[in-house]
Each structure stands twice: as structure tokens, then as C-alpha cells.
């Protein structure tokens, strides 16, 4: 079918050609050109139709350097609301508790390992809690990360109650005077209400030790995900009151533009990005770099 062939050839040069045409389009007065090219760039970056429309509307009629305006607008979306204050990553309790949630395969366990290593390198005493009691060998996987990061791990056997693992881990973290407890959880799809209830239970159980727990709950989002990210952010936020996002796998060709769509609907700042499988491949989120990559 010629249709396939055309498309395949077209895709190869897609992005290279796009950016230069976008740069040309923002220079021109022709709003129609600008709209079309910009829409294409944004949608192919997974920004989504609605968020793309809003971004385009906000700059289309304005005076000035529109390339600048475009970047400013996107930075405003990323840095507004709860993202206005720079993230200090400071530990607010002893122990400070971080709860990681997300869909299957988004990278929670890897992120838990990287976070543990990051704080351990600062001389903090870190404990990992193996809250994924469902998936085969998830506990072993976290244990390997704990070893790499040289931190303790608390686990029960596979199939045990995740909330009880979390509770026991917090009890131990308090008793041992740990600085940070990171609770890994099983992957779950956000439309499975029973599994989301299980997550809410983990949160409730942690609160039995004190209202302040968990200090931070992060949704781990795979950068290759498209518009479903919005549903993920909304439903996980409903279930466990998220504090922010961690976007993983940004070292591929996916741009992670769906976080712009997410940020327009739910006020959740991005805190970290995952850029590789190594233990150091977790970076603080830099909005400027992100916007550059998205428009590049």
C-alpha cells in the first residue's frame, strides 16, 4: 500500500523539518501557518489537542518575539501553581516518607532505587519498603537496588498485605531513627477501583503513625505515555492526594509533552526526570530544558 510507504518516508524527516518550519512560522504574520505548524509540533510531542489549542491561542494574536512568547507560555504552565516555588528536596521529618505510585511498568522500583541512592550519597539513612507484594520478583528487584544504593530494605513475603508492609516499615524507620523511608508500591491501572482503594489504604495506614505521613506522594509517569497520562494524574490524585510527578524514560525519543496537558488540568509539579537505567540517572526537573527539548 502506497499509504504506508509515504508515511514511513515522511516520518523519518518529520521532526527535523518541523522545527525549522516552526521557527519560520513564528516569524511570519500569517497566523494560520503558525497555528498549523505549532499544532503539529505540540501534538507530536504528546501535548494533546486541548492543551495545544490553549497554548496556540495564547500566543497567536500577540505582539513581540513569538518564539520567546511560546517558550514563556509553556514555562508558565510548568512553573505555575504548586510549581512556583523551587523544589528543595529537603527532608521534612525524621523519617521523611516518600510514597511512589503509578501504573505497571512506569518505573517505580527503579525510581525508588535511584532516590535512595541520591539521599544515601548525602549521608542520609534511607530505608526502602517493598510495597509491591503482587508482581513476581518485585521484592527481589528492590532488594538489588537497595544493595546498589547501600541502604536497608524492609519486605515481607510475596502476596502479603502491602499496607502492612508500609506500616511495619514506618514503625522500623521511626525506631531506627532513619532519615528517609521510600515506599514502593505495585503497579496498577488507574481505572481499577479496587486497586486504587488498596493504595488509599496504604496512605491511611501510614497516617496511623501521624498525620504528616507520607510527606510526599509522587506519581511515576512513563514519558512514552500519551493522553492517558491525564486520566492517570486525575485518578491517582483522587485516590492518594499526589504532591508531584516523576517522569521516567525521557532518554528516548518521547518528549513527555503530556505533562503540559496534565498541568493544565491538575496542579502537580514535576519534581524529577529519569534519564537512564544507571543509579545516578535521576535529575531534578528543569523546565527550561524540557521546553527546549519539546520544541526541538
Amino acid at each position: 500500500m502506497s499509504f504506508f510507504k509515504n508515511l514511513r518516508a515522511g516520518l523519518a524527516k518529520t521532526r527535523d523539518g518541523l522545527v525549522s518550519s516552526l521557527k519560520k512560522a513564528v516569524q511570519k504574520d500569517n497566523n494560520e501557518d503558525l497555528r498549523e505548524t505549532l499544532e503539529e509540533v505540540l501534538i507530536m510531542g504528546d501535548v494533546g489537542v486541548h492543551a495545544a489549542d490553549r497554548i496556540i491561542e495564547s500566543i497567536a494574536g500577540r505582539e513581540g518575539d513569538r518564539w520567546e512568547l511560546l517558550q514563556q507560555e509553556m514555562l508558565a504552565i510548568l512553573g505555575g501553581g504548586n510549581g512556583a516555588e523551587p523544589y528543595t528536596a529537603e527532608l521534612r521529618g525524621k523519617p521523611h516518607v516518600i510514597l511512589l505510585v503509578g501504573t505497571n511498568g512506569s518505573g517505580k522500583t527503579t525510581t525508588a532505587g535511584k532516590l535512595a541512592a541520591k539521599y544515601a550519597a548525602q549521608g542520609k539513612r534511607v530505608i526502602l519498603a517493598a510495597g509491591d507484594t503482587y508482581r513476581a520478583a518485585a521484592i527481589e528487584q528492590l532488594a538489588v537496588w537497595a544493595k546498589r544504593a547501600d541502604v536497608e530494605v524492609i519486605s515481607q513475603e510475596r502476596g502479603s498485605d502491602a499496607a502492612s508492609v508500609a506500616y511495619d516499615a514506618l514503625t522500623a524507620a521511626i525506631a531506627r531513627g532513619a532519615d528517609l523511608l521510600i515506599v514502593d508500591t505495585a503497579g496498577r491501572l488507574q481505572n481499577r477501583s479496587n486497586l486504587m482503594e488498596e493504595l488509599a489504604k496504604i496512605r491511611r495506614v501510614l497516617k496511623k503513625h501521624g498525620e504528616e505521613y507520607p510527606h510526599e506522594t509522587f506519581l511515576v509517569l512513563d514519558a512514552t505515555i500519551g493522553q492517558n497520562a491525564l486520566s492517570q494524574a486525575k485518578l491517582f490524585h483522587e485516590a492518594v492526594a499526589l504532591d508531584g510527578l516523576i517522569v521516567t524514560k525521557l532518554d528516548g525519543t518521547a518528549k513527555g509533552g503530556m505533562i503540559l496537558a496534565v498541568r493544565q488540568e491538575v496542579d502537580l509539579p514535576v519534581r524529577y526526570v529519569g534519564v537512564g537505567e544507571g543509579i545516578d540517572d535521576l535529575m531534578p526537573f528543569a523546565p527550561e530544558d524540557f521546553v527546549k527539548a519539546l520544541l526541538d
Binding site: A138, Q141, T224
Partner: protein, 441 residues
């Protein structure tokens, strides 16, 4: 079944009521909604563009059938084209003439390769085949442990790598061993890799060269966005992909990646992963996928699920009672228990068109159903067939017996009343033709 999109389209088409044919301008206006639906489903931008150009060509000049509106007509054309492009017929695994058949799995990190390996193995073990799994992921911590635990669970044998052994060597060793052991199927799991990681892409080329798979499947997360085409084409350039597996389709993603991938590679989607259990694997159905991408729900899947779990005799009996308006609380409880057999309610609701848009209070949950069952079970047989006798003290007793409140008992009786009223209406309309399928609230 086309409600959502076609109602929007009908609004766009208001002006052309009574017209006989779709003209270019009408179609262009109508395709806007379709475009939005496709993009929201994560179909690739370019694919959408070209697809709609094709549809437009086909749609212009088509007669609007008497029975349906222009909106529905256009949706039908789009739907037909989608189904065609998603792949006409089923594409099963090609079995080797000389066993064992070797299947190689590849994909990005976290796409679901290891879980799929176990599901595919389980499917063939159930058909009395001997299946051998190969743990080719030497990078992710405990990946081999995961596959080993799954292998044990489903009764497959497994080869793991020695310390420092590379994936191509593990695969070669496993396949040789499997042939000697008279295995029917060898499934080679590999590490997740980014399509831009040159070293790892070379590695999978080597594994592919050594394993000489009869079937190479790329495992893709059903939630993948616009990048799906980059991933699929990059892998296809390096190893000859025979087909795709779409995972995590029990979620609420519309799965537009399926269309993109199918378009750019021309290779079929073979399987769909629909849950975490080793049984949750389905063949790919282009028609259902088309409906899902357009946001129209999986009515066929729902009916099929019902057919699997509903006792037909009971259903016929129930329909009969409904028709004669003898529907009692007992029947109601019966219906609930049949509904429960179909699986978790939220999964079922996801298959109903428009259900995602239902207001929160309308959503049924498994717990509420349990309470309803408890209330009905706490009634005497007489109360169940003659709910009118339920006075205050009876209601109090039932609430106590079922661990609920009188308000909840009242609410249930009210609901039941409403259902009966609805049935009266439907019974009247349908007359004697009314062969009703079991319904639920």
C-alpha cells in the same frame, strides 16, 4: 452504539438534513470531530491526517442511507475504514513445521514483555504443549527471578543465564536444549531497551540472528503516545518484526497506538494484554479496537463476556418473568450475582459506551452490590416476593440483619420499584416480540 461521536456529528450536520448525499464541505466539517477523537486516542498526527484524507475521498458523494443520519453514516464509514486498516483477519502465531517454534519478544522497558511471555506460555500449556521460557534480560535486577517464578506458577521450564553470559548465548543454549527435550514452544524474553540505544539494539540483532525466531513480536504499551511509530519503525529496521502485542489494555487508554503501528509497519497486532493475571490475554479484534479508538465502548466484548458467564436458562426464565411483570427481589438478587460473575464491575463498566462519562454517583461499585445482596438475603421469602408488606419494623430488622441502615434498605426498595416501572414500560413497547436479554441497572 455510535452515540457520542455521532451526536456531535449530527450537530455539525444540522444544516444538511434532508439532503441525499454527503458533499465535500459537509464531510470536512464532520471529520473535525473524528480527528479530535483520533488524536485524543493517541493516534499519530500524520496517520490521522492521511487516514482522514482517505476517508474523505470515500465519503464524499456517498448516499446517506434512509435509516441513519448523516452523522451516523460518516461514523460508519470511518469505522469501516478503521477496521480495514487495523487488519482484516486474525493473525495467529506461525508454528514451525519442525518444533520447537521459537518466539522472540522485544520492546521498551516496562512495556510488559515478561508478563506477556508467561501469558503466551500459559496459553500453549493449556493446549497441552510443552513450553520453554528463556530469561534473556540480564540487566534489570531480578528479571530472571520474575520469569522463573512465573514459569513455576504455570508449569513451564526455563533457562537462565550463567554469571556474565550474554543474551545471544543464553538463547542459543536454551533453544538447543529445548529441541533435545522435545519442547513445542520456546519463548525468548529480552531486556527492555530504548530504540535509540545503539549497544542494546545491536544486542537484540545478535539475539535475533542466533535464535532465528519463527515469530518476532514487539510488545508495546497500549497507553503509548505519539512516539509509538518511532519505536515500532526503529525496531523493525533492526529485526524483522512479525507482529505486535498491545499490553495494559484493561486500562482506560483508547489505544490509538495500535492504529499508528499497524499503519506504519503494515504488520498485524496479534495479542492484547488485558490484566495482570497469566490468563489475561486475548486475540486482537480489529472491530473492537476501532470502536475503542473512536470512544464507542466494546459492546461486542461485553456481550461475549455476558454469554460466557450468564446462565442462559436462568436468563430466559428471568426475561419471561420480566415480561409478565412478575419480577421479584429474588430475581433482582439473581441478576446481581450473575453480573458479579462477569468480573470486576469497573472493568465491565469500561466496556459500556459512554460509561466513562457517567457522573460519579451513577457508577456502580462492587461494595454497594455486596450490600444490596446482604439486604435481600436478610428478607424472608414472603418479603422478597411481596415487598409491599415491608413495614417499618420489618425494615429495621432487615437493616440489622444485613449490617446496613434503614435508609439503605429504603433506597434499595426505591430502586427496585423504579426498575419494575421501567420494565412495565419496556414490556409494553416490546409486546410479544420482546426477547429480552438480561439487563442490569
Amino acid at each position: 452504539m455510535f452515540e457520542e461521536i455521532s451526536s456531535k456529528l449530527d450537530a455539525a450536520f444540522k444544516k444538511l438534513r434532508g439532503r441525499g448525499k454527503l458533499n465535500e464541505k459537509d464531510v470536512t466539517a464532520g471529520l473535525r470531530e473524528i480527528r479530535l477523537a483520533l488524536l485524543e486516542a493517541d493516534v499519530h498526527f500524520k496517520v490521522v491526517k492521511e487516514f482522514l484524507a482517505n476517508v474523505k475521498e470515500r465519503a464524499v458523494g456517498q448516499e446517506v442511507l434512509d435509516s441513519i443520519s448523516p452523522g451516523q453514516q460518516l461514523v460508519k464509514i470511518v469505522n469501516d475504514e478503521l477496521v480495514k486498516l487495523l487488519g482484516g483477519q486474525r493473525a495467529p502465531i506461525r508454528l514451525a513445521s519442525q518444533p520447537p517454534t521459537v518466539v522472540l519478544l522485544a520492546g521498551l522497558q516496562g512495556s510488559g514483555k515478561t508478563t506477556f511471555a508467561a501469558k503466551l506460555a500459559q496459553r500453549y500449556i493449556k493446549r497441552d504443549k510443552r513450553v520453554h521460557l528463556v530469561a534473556g534480560d540480564i540487566y534489570r535486577p531480578a528479571a530472571a527471578d520474575q520469569l522463573e517464578q512465573l514459569a513455576k506458577q504455570i508449569g513451564a521450564s526455563i533457562t537462565r543465564g550463567e554469571e556474565g553470559e550474554l543474551p545471544d548465548s543464553i538463547a542459543a543454549r536454551a533453544i538447543k536444549k529445548a529441541a533435545g527435550d522435545l519442547q513445542d514452544l520456546v519463548i525468548v524474553d529480552t531486556a527492555g531497551r530504548l530504540h535509540v540505544d545503539e549497544d542494546l539494539m545491536k544486542e537484540i540483532e545478535r539475539v535475533h540472528a542466533v535464535a532465528k525466531p519463527d515469530e518476532t513480536l514487539l510488545v508495546v504499551d497500549g497507553m503509548t503516545g505519539q512516539d509509538a511509530v518511532n519505536v515500532a519503525t526503529s525496531f523493525q529496521e533492526r529485526i524483522a518484526i512479525d507482529g505486535f502485542v498491545l499490553t495494559k489494555m484493561d486500562g482506560d487508554a483508547r489505544g490509538g497506538a495500535a492504529l499508528s503501528i499497524r499503519h506504519v509497519t503494515g504488520k498485524p497486532i496479534k495479542f492484547v494484554g488485558t490484566g495482570e493475571g497469566v490468563d489475561a490475554l486475548e486475540d486482537f479484534h480489529p472491530d473492537r479496537m476501532a470502536n475503542r479508538i473512536l470512544g464507542m465502548g466494546d459492546v461486542v466484548g461485553l456481550v461475549e463476556k455476558a454469554a460466557q458467564s450468564v446462565d442462559m436458562e436462568k436468563a430466559a426464565h428471568l426475561a419471561d418473568r420480566m415480561r409478565r411483570q412478575q419480577f421479584t427481589l429474588d430475581d433482582f438478587a439473581d441478576q446481581l450475582s450473575q453480573l458479579k460473575k462477569m468480573g470486576p464491575l469497573d472493568q465491565i463498566m469500561g466496556m459500556i459506551p459512554g460509561a466513562a462519562k457517567m457522573p460519579k454517583g451513577m457508577k456502580v461499585d462492587d461494595k454497594a452490590m455486596g450490600r444490596t445482596e446482604a439486604i435481600i438475603s436478610s428478607m424472608t421469602p414472603l418479603e422478597r416476593s411481596e415487598p409491599v408488606i415491608l413495614n417499618g419494623s420489618r425494615r429495621k430488622r432487615i437493616a440489622r440483619g444485613s449490617g446496613t441502615s434503614v435508609q439503605e434498605v429504603n433506597q434499595l426498595l426505591k430502586q427496585f420499584d423504579m426498575i419494575k416501572k421501567m420494565m412495565k414500560k419496556m414490556g409494553g413497547k416490546r409486546g410479544k416480540k420482546g426477547r429480552m436479554t438480561p439487563r442490569f441497572q
